[in-house]
């Protein structure tokens, strides 16, 4: 069966890829730069380059089909695989192969990446469409893909409303920096309406993508955060500018101008995912006729232990993070949260926070790692989420200011991002090691336990790796690409500056 399945998947991938290639070409034409492998045949007669482009798109799509054919994935999972795949092809195609063929060597500088930024969004677009079409033309797993019901749609819309409320609030704080992007909520009421509708619609789309999410709250949160990014790209960078008649806003300058809305969308996505999950759980609790056999225990059962282990892991992670904190002189800033100033009090506050976030990791990601690799993946993803929520959002608020999400600020906080990733990675791995010390999932005591372990493992591995890598890939490269070459951050108050890194000259020139 295997022998036939692989070519078939490749074929489906090719079809999907070709179709996505059309969309890609349309988008690229719109934004003015078709930076793909196909652009090397630009010189040839008109039409030929288009054919070449479609052929390449189909071939790349076939690769996608081959890659994901062995996994049993829902539409939503495939979407993230598609995005990851698209982004990888941006590195391979736009930044490596194309320049190699054109200029004789790969150009991997930030400047080159910045120039190719529209193409990045094009590639993401391509990947997403390939994945969705592939999902549409591939029969689901034998036990059926989860079905969309009235309940899921309702939960999605409600979650969307909750998310929209948050989104509006968050974007409102960024109005001064969103300028003429159409997102500034300072005055315009169409913008208000757009943001609110975007939020609600996002909830609905999320529900359609994940009709019955099986994973725990933590993985759901990461998924939601990433969905927030996708929704930002779709709404703020594409739909809104299109509506306003300006065409896709995928160029460096356009993305920079809309970047302040991105953290808002990420937090929005996280909230939507959590609320959606809770609503579904509540719905199951109240309305499901038959309690579907659940072999998972309630969070409460092992919750205390998970909190304890998470807190310990948080402590270790916090110590790792301290190295970065000390180096960039961030501790006194942290101390200001409690009104102190010395590095030592900062260190204490920092450890307490690390502890609490670690404990929350334990609760959210309990039993969700099936090896050091996945532990690392969840950990760094969670660390990234807290970079957005912590230094970018809560810290300025706790220090009595307001969050400011310009690319310069994000660029100035890259050391903190590195610290958060290191923290998250350490938390994930330490927590996992503690967990398997008590419960090594690979030593089953009954056939039933073995089957459960295997199923959970397959679930985690099949869908989650795309999430982790996409989170980190975007999290690292976007701030660098956008911040690089911008004028020095700003000359705010000492406190605010402290919150964003000690020197305002961080966003230096771009080599």
């Amino acid at each position: 069966m295997k022998q036939r399945a692989l070519p078939l998947a490749a074929l489906r991938g090719a079809v999907a890829g070709a179709a996505a290639g059309l969309a890609f070409a349309a988008a690229m034409r719109q934004s003015g730069a078709l930076v793909t492998v196909a652009s090397i045949v630009h010189a040839s007669p008109a039409g030929l380059d288009f054919v070449a482009h479609l052929l390449v798109a189909a071939a790349v799509g076939a690769g996608f089909g081959t890659l994901v054919s062995s996994e049993r994935l829902g539409v939503g999972e495939l979407l993230f695989w598609g995005l990851t795949y698209g982004m990888v092809w941006w590195f391979v195609g736009a930044l490596t192969v194309a320049p190699m063929l054109l200029a004789g060597r790969a150009i991997w500088t930030v400047a080159a990446a910045q120039a190719a930024l529209p193409s990045l969004f094009g590639h993401l677009w391509y990947g997403a469409i390939t994945a969705l079409i592939y999902a549409a033309i591939t029969p689901g797993p034998s036990d059926g893909r989860p079905r969309v019901t009235g309940g899921t749609v309702g939960a999605g819309v409600l979650a969307g409303v909750a998310g929209a409320w948050l989104l509006e609030r968050l974007i409102a704080t960024q109005s001064p920096w969103l300028g003429t992007t159409g997102l500034s909520l300072a005055t315009s009421s169409p913008a208000h309406r757009f943001v609110f509708l975007t939020g609600v619609l996002g909830g609905l789309v999320f529900a359609l993508l994940y009709p019955q999410p099986r994973d725990a709250a933590g993985p759901g949160l990461i998924r939601g955060a990433l969905f927030g990014f996708v929704w930002w790209a779709a709404a703020a960078l594409s739909a809104l500018p299109e509506i306003n008649g300006g065409g896709l806003a995928w160029s460096l300058e356009a993305v920079r101008a809309r970047f302040p809305a991105l953290p808002a969308f990420v937090l929005y996505g996280g909230l939507v995912a959590l609320v959606y999950r809770w609503l579904l759980a509540a719905g199951r609790l109240l309305f499901a006729d038959d309690a579907t056999p659940r072999d998972e225990e309630g969070t409460g059962t092992r919750g205390l232990r998970a909190i304890g282990r998470g807190a310990f892991a948080g402590l270790i992670g916090g110590l790792v993070f301290t190295l970065v904190m000390v180096r960039v002189g961030f501790l006194p800033t942290v101390a200001q949260i409690v009104g102190a100033a010395s590095p030592w009090s900062g260190f204490l506050v920092h450890l307490v926070i690390a502890n609490i976030i670690g404990a929350s990791y334990g609760l959210l990601f309990l039993g969700r790692s099936v090896g050091t690799g996945s532990a690392l993946g969840w950990g760094v993803s969670y660390g990234f989420f807290w970079w957005i929520l912590g230094p970018l959002t809560l810290l300025p608020v706790l220090l009595g200011g307001a969050p400011r999400w310009t690319p310069q600020v994000a660029g100035a906080l890259i050391p903190s991002l590195v610290g958060h990733l290191a923290y998250g990675g350490a938390v994930g791995i330490v927590f996992y090691l503690l967990e398997v010390r008590y419960n090594p999932w690979w030593v089953p005591h009954t056939e039933l336990m073995a089957a459960q372990s295997e199923r959970r493992r397959a679930e985690v591995l099949a869908s989650a790796s795309a999430l982790w890598v996409l989170v980190v890939m975007l999290g690292l490269t976007l701030p660098i690409m956008l911040a690089c070459g911008m004028a020095p951050a700003y000359s705010g108050t000492a406190t605010a500056r402290g919150a964003y890194g000690q020197s305002s000259g961080e966003a230096g020139p771009c080599p």
Binding site: V370, G371, Y438, V443, L461, P479
Partner: protein
């Protein structure tokens, strides 16, 4: 672990080498900001160094993802992630250090090393793509099912009793043997829950719900096999335990390699005539419920009683035994009655009597004299009478008779003056103390039977800190003894000598009702509200599981604002037990009848 770690590390190293070639070839290594290692101009040396690093990185990747090599997309994605982290560790952190700079992780550095970031991505992607090819899982993604095959256990440890001692042994064993499925851990217990005895008096006093202090033992285990059954006999020669499934006649035989006795103790009611028929005990949930219903039933009767003598008897509550169990019990009884008295308008508060009978000259011998005196003062101020130096001579349905001839007319006698180890132990061919406890070595092994261990109230364990005396029968000790036994059993299984048990009481806390308590923490003495807060905090924290903690916290909160519940939950509440004839079967739950002697050891 199907794919051995060495295999994946080697395969990872090779993949790393292959992956390292990609960026090395595609870029001019000496251009600024790439993954170049060593000073500019090293050329080939730099490339070689870089390849060595790439190989090491690959080996690290192999070790990291050895559990998840079975999905090609998953592994490739993990490779990319690894590449990104590799960029942070390498070009962003180690490289500046190698050149004598302190890493800053700043945007400037990130920008400068951006080419290396992409190179790292390529490296990681190729690494993640090649590794599954080398470990042979590419074409057959689900071939390396990661679970080990289910192993049939070849050895068995049987734990008798699911109280503090037994559960502690089982939990520790489960942890120590987590990766050793060849040893089966079996627990046999009459009750399928762990009874949190420190709060039992509060249940009897209607302050807590019975279920809230009983934690199902199954919930505490991941792999321990639990058998809800009663122990019938132990045959130490044949290493065989016979059990009778709860509520059934079926007898099962269990073979053991190691046996742990943790059967606890039962009240000793034979000491005084009339006790078995007329006294309440406080050892099980049944006991607590019965006592609670009895007291409320008496209040109901007294409220309408016309005979003043009978009413006096009904409103007199006697607890025998001035240790911590007795002191806590009388204090809780008083709290119960005073909390609900308002519902019984026919009862004169002045007619209520609470009497503590104690054979010693001072109560709470477990504590120092200062604390004991404080406790007595406090309780006397609340109207509790003390009959000290008084031995109980007989119990009747309507009175307690003391050795000096005094009588206390009462309808309620609670016995808290002595337990005895589980009577089943008498059938074992082992050395026992006067009270009937199994005498064990300092390693907790039963004398003469190295594969039989005993913990808790049923064992007499030498106290390592007080020559000649033995460990007190408390939960505090039982839990530590359990841990020690588990560790010793595992040591013996692994051919290591077991170690003697050493534990010194950390704290003795006694609740005296109504937000007062006394506490002795390693010689530090506390009393009053602070000690009460300590009592609540400590025992609340010790409650097994989050769920029970929440439930008890809620009960306590409700208790702050509402009177206790006086709903009578017996079928015939109007006839308090112990009033006329001994109720059939009462006491039977507390005092199991000794089983027939075991078959002679062969």
């Amino acid at each position: 672990m199907n794919t051995s770690i060495r295999h994946t590390v080697v395969a990872g190293g090779i993949s790393g080498l292959v992956a390292g070639l990609v960026p090395a070839l595609s870029l001019d290594v000496n251009s600024p900001g790439t993954m170049s290692v060593g000073p500019a101009g090293w050329g080939a040396v730099s490339v070689a160094l870089q390849l060595v690093l790439a190989m090491l990185g690959g080996a690290g990747f192999g070790a990291l993802v050895r559990d998840q090599l079975d999905g090609r997309a998953a592994t490739a994605a993990s490779g990319l992630l690894y590449g990104l982290l590799w960029w942070i560790v390498g070009p962003l952190t180690v490289a500046p250090m190698a050149h004598g700079h302190i890493p800053t992780w700043s945007l400037r550095d990130a920008t400068a090393t951006f080419p290396a970031l992409i190179a790292s991505l390529f490296y990681g992607g190729v690494l993640g793509g090649v590794l599954p090819l080398l470990t042979g899982t590419f074409g057959n993604p689900r071939a390396s099912a990661r679970c080990e095959p289910v192993v049939r256990p070849v050895r068995r440890i049987v734990i008798l009793g699911g109280g503090f001692g037994g559960v502690s042994v089982a939990q520790r064993l489960e942890f120590l043997l987590a990766r050793d499925p060849s040893v089966q851990i079996t627990m046999v217990s009459q009750s399928n829950y762990l009874l949190f005895t420190p709060m039992l008096a509060e249940v009897a006093a209607s302050g807590l719900e019975p279920q809230h202090i009983s934690a199902p033992v199954r919930a505490a285990f991941l792999r321990v096999e639990f058998r809800h059954a009663e122990l019938e006999t132990v045959n130490v020669a044949a290493r065989l335990v016979r059990t009778r499934a709860a509520g059934a006649a079926r007898i099962d035989a269990l073979h053991y390699d190691h046996l742990v006795l943790a059967l606890g103790a039962v009240p000793n009611l034979r000491r005084v005539p009339g006790l078995e028929a007329h006294a309440f005990t406080l050892k099980s949930l049944d006991d607590a419920n019965r006592l609670r219903n009895h007291v409320i039933g008496l209040l109901e009767r007294a409220d309408v009683e016309v005979d003043p003598h009978e009413r006096r008897r009904q409103l007199t509550f006697v607890v025998v035994g001035g240790g911590f169990a007795g002191a806590e019990m009388i204090a809780e009884l008083r709290d119960l009655v005073h909390s609900v008295r308002r519902f019984y308008r026919g009862i004169d508060p002045g007619a209520l009597r609470f009497v503590l009978v104690h054979s010693g000259e001072r109560i709470l011998p477990e504590l120092g004299s200062a604390l004991a005196a404080y406790a007595r003062r406090k309780m006397e101020a609340r109207g509790i009478e003390f009959l000290l130096g008084a031995r109980m001579a007989a119990a009747h349905s309507d009175s307690v008779v003391l050795a000096d001839g005094r009588t206390v007319p009462t309808r309620t006698i609670v016995w808290a003056a002595g337990n005895q180890p589980h009577p089943l132990l008498r059938s074992l061919p082992v050395e026992r103390s006067q009270s009937g406890a199994v005498i064990v070595e300092p390693t907790l092994q039963v004398k003469g039977l190295p594969n039989v261990w005993a913990v808790g109230d049923c064992a007499q364990i030498p106290d390592a800190f007080h020559e000649g005396s033995s460990c007190p029968p408390t939960a505090q000790h039982a839990v530590r003894e359990g841990i020690a036994v588990a560790e010793n059993i595992v040591a013996v299984l692994r051919g290591i000598a077991p170690r003697p048990f050493r534990f010194r009481t950390i704290a003795t806390l006694v609740a005296l009702g109504h937000r007062t308590a006394v506490a002795d923490v390693r010689g530090w003495r506390f009393s009053g509200f602070l000690a009460w807060a300590m009592w609540r905090t400590v025992y609340w924290w010790k409650l097994p599981g989050l769920e029970k903690k929440i439930r008890v916290a809620l009960d306590w909160t409700i208790d702050l604002f509402f009177p206790r519940d006086v709903a009578l939950l017996t079928a015939s509440p109007s006839v308090p037990q112990g009033l006329d004839a001994p109720e059939p079967g009462r006491g039977a739950s507390s005092v199991p009848t000794p089983a027939a002697p075991p078959p002679p050891a062969t």
